[in-house]
Structure formats: C-alpha cells, structure tokens
Symmetry: C2
Subunit: 237 residues, 2 copies
C-alpha cells in the first residue's frame, strides 16, 4: 500500500491555544522577513507536512515532493543558491517544493487501483484501464511544467495556511537559482523547483499589511473586464 | 486608491453554524461531482471572493482575475468550451480563474506606493524606484506563464478552502479549451486561463476519499529521494 487514510491531527497549536477558523488565518498571515533562532516542534512540522499532502490533484496523482532542509549546513548550502537570503539560514526549517514531471507515470496505476479499493470509482480492470487512458491522454496535452507548478502551489498553499493555523510563521520564496537547487539537493533535471517555504517563529513585528486590490478590480461579472458589483441578497440561480 | 484594507467577514457559515478550524476543512474537502440546483447566498459568494483576494503574491502584484459566471446562458456557454462537463451547468456559480501576464506592469508603481503608505516599506521616490527596478528585473527572468499559474493557484486554493469553510462545496476543473474560454469570455490572448472552480451545494453523497501517499513517499530529508522519517520530539535546530 502506497496510500494512507486521513491522519490524526493535534487539536491545539504547539503553544496549546485553540485553532482559529480558516478565514481568520487567511486574513492574518503575512510573509515573514526574519525568523527567531527557535526550533519547530517535531509534531507541528509533521502535521504541516501531513496537511500539505492532503491537497487535491488531478487524478489524485499528487505530483509534489518536499525536501525538508533543516541542518545548519544544508540551510547554508540552500542560501548560496537562493540569492543569499538571510531568512534561509535564520529559519529552523526551509522546505523545497518540487514538481515531478514524469514520476507520476509510475504511480498512476496504483493510485487508481487503491483509490478504487477505497471506494472512489469502479475497481474492475476495464474501468481502471479506461481511467488510465483518459489521464494519459489529458496529460499528454498539457504543458507539463505549468501543470506541475499549478499542482504544487495548491500543496504549498495548504502548507502555508496549515503552518499559520498551528502558530508558525512562513515565508514563501520565489527567488532562487533552480539549476543550483537541483544540483545541490539531487533534484532530477526534468523536474521543477516550484518554491521555497521557510517555516519558524517570525521575529516581531510582522511586516505591515500592504493592502489588496478592491474587489471590483479583480472580480469580473460574466465577462473579462466587467467589474463585479455584487447583487442585493437574493437568489443567484 | 486601488487598494483596500482587510474585509470584515461573517463569523458563521451561511447556515448559521460556527466556522471550523482550517485543518478540519483541509481534511474534509472533496471534489464535488454533482451540484444541487440551489443558489449561493450573495454574502457567502462575496466573502469567498474577498478571501481569494487576500492571497499573497510576489511584490503584492496580485496577477489574478476572476470571472464570476452565473447566468444560465453563460454557464451553458462555458460548458461548451469545457468538455461538456455537467457540473458546470449544475453549479449556480463557476469562477474562471485567469492569470494576467502583463497587466501587472500598469499596477506596479501604485501597488508599491500604496503599500509603502500603509507601512510596508519606505515611501520615498528613490526607494520605490529601487523596488520597482528589482521587481521588473526579477520578472523579466521568469517564465511568465508559469509564474502567473503559480500565483493564481494560491488564490484559487484560498477560494476553495474559504468556500469549504463557509459550508459550500467546490469542484476545481482543469479540463477546458483555453482558447475557447478566452474567446467566449473576452480574456486577452496573452493571458492564462488557469482553472475553473464550480461553487455550490454538492449533491450527496460526497465522493469517497481516494487516499493520499504516505508521508515517506512525498517528503524527503535534506536530499531528493531520501525518505523523511521524522525524529523523536526534540530540538530541530
């Protein structure tokens, strides 16, 4: 069995405080410019990784891999291929998020079979074959680099929000030399280094909130460019 | 002012029940194969869109746009360019998530200035110029299609989890004809149609949970390919 069922999760943060509802977490999360030299409790780290692994993916292929970088030497090595960003050596843990562009081929059959055994679709050989062909067909038509980047970012977002829920701070980073990261950390050439995520306790104060676009600028009503106004409460159908 | 500060959010779901902590939402969310013909309360829809807009982005450029598709005709039109998927016309709302590949250039100056006014960095002209050059420099070196796909997926993930928090079901879809969607909904050629997200009340029962990879398969310790075992509780630094 390569698959596992739902993990059990701690019901409070590492500090023992109750978990906040998601919307509050989304509003309060800020990128962390600097971290305290303070370890991450092992249980919190495991929980965050478990939750990242719960992200949804096309055909349940889970084309993400996460390299947990936590020794002093490894973080120094990572910093050298990531524009010398200080927070990489400050944070106790930095995760390298990778998208695998072909490893999912080896998993496809078993992912579909185990999913079917768990009740997600018919388990007979013909049905599995049909789903397999549909998946291969669809995936042969996508830009694979774009496809894995999309998927990995779902999981990175889960990881970021999960960390915040459990009382940790995060800094997602897109400034790095992908070739250097691959070389230093053994990532296959064909794969995509999607993002780095530093995890730890942020040094106070948090960065100020820089604001967000008003809804009318980013939300359109039925046609690109037509600002969404919302409606008076009432049926939408 | 193009920017707005933090939105006020409802503290309960549309059904009046308390909001769940994030980890529970992440564990319970499933893709919805079929939707009930039931409208989405306007307040829930607005809340979900507001939360999607809170996603973080490089230089706060927010390169996402969301077309809310909700009339019967528009959903039928979308279904025709999205592999005829039934749930597109079943769901009361389908959001087309778009990544803008150059519109952010027009926003860059004001985003940095308003952010600085809100306290996120020095506000003098020289500092703004320096940050602007750094952003343009960085962004000239990225694959723009990959970059916007990554960013838009953060916001789509926020939207998906926000919807789930407020008691709605979602179905992210990657099966569509991007050129057709652009043509039908007026999306500029240069931009990226990243995903569709159907929102509504799922028809019971939920799809079965197909399982996820065991942690040792997707999490590596310090080097790609070295399964992460976790450690006994103790300092990580």
């Amino acid at each position: 069995m390569m698959m596992q069922s739902l993990p059990k999760l701690p019901e409070v943060t590492a500090a023992g405080t109750p978990l906040k509802p998601m919307p509050w977490v989304m509003l309060r999360r800020r990128a962390t410019p600097h971290f305290e030299a303070k370890p991450i409790p092992e249980m919190a780290l495991r929980t965050i990784l478990e939750l990242a692994g719960q992200a949804p993916s096309g055909y349940n292929l889970q084309p993400w891999r996460f390299i947990v970088v936590r020794t002093r030497d490894d973080r120094a090595r990572l910093r050298r291929v990531a524009h010398d960003q200080e927070r990489i050596t400050e944070a106790p843990v930095v995760v390298i998020a990778v998208g695998v562009t072909s490893a999912w081929r080896r998993d496809l059959d078993e992912v579909l079979r185990e999913g079917a055994r768990l009740g997600a679709g018919p388990a007979d050989d013909a049905s599995i074959e049909r789903r397999k062909r549909a998946a291969l067909d669809f995936l042969s038509g996508v830009r694979m680099d774009v496809w894995v980047n999309r998927h990995v970012m779902i999981a990175v977002t889960y990881m970021m929000l999960a960390a915040e829920s459990y009382g940790l701070d995060t800094a997602p980073m897109e400034g790095f030399d992908a070739e250097g990261v691959k070389r230093e950390f053994g990532v296959p050439d064909e794969d995509e280094v999607v993002a780095l995520l530093a995890l730890g306790a942020g040094r106070k104060p948090d960065k100020a909130f820089p604001g967000r676009f008003a809804l009318g600028k980013i939300v359109y009503d039925g046609q690109f460019g037509v600002p969404w106004q919302g409606r008076k409460p009432g049926p939408v159908l």
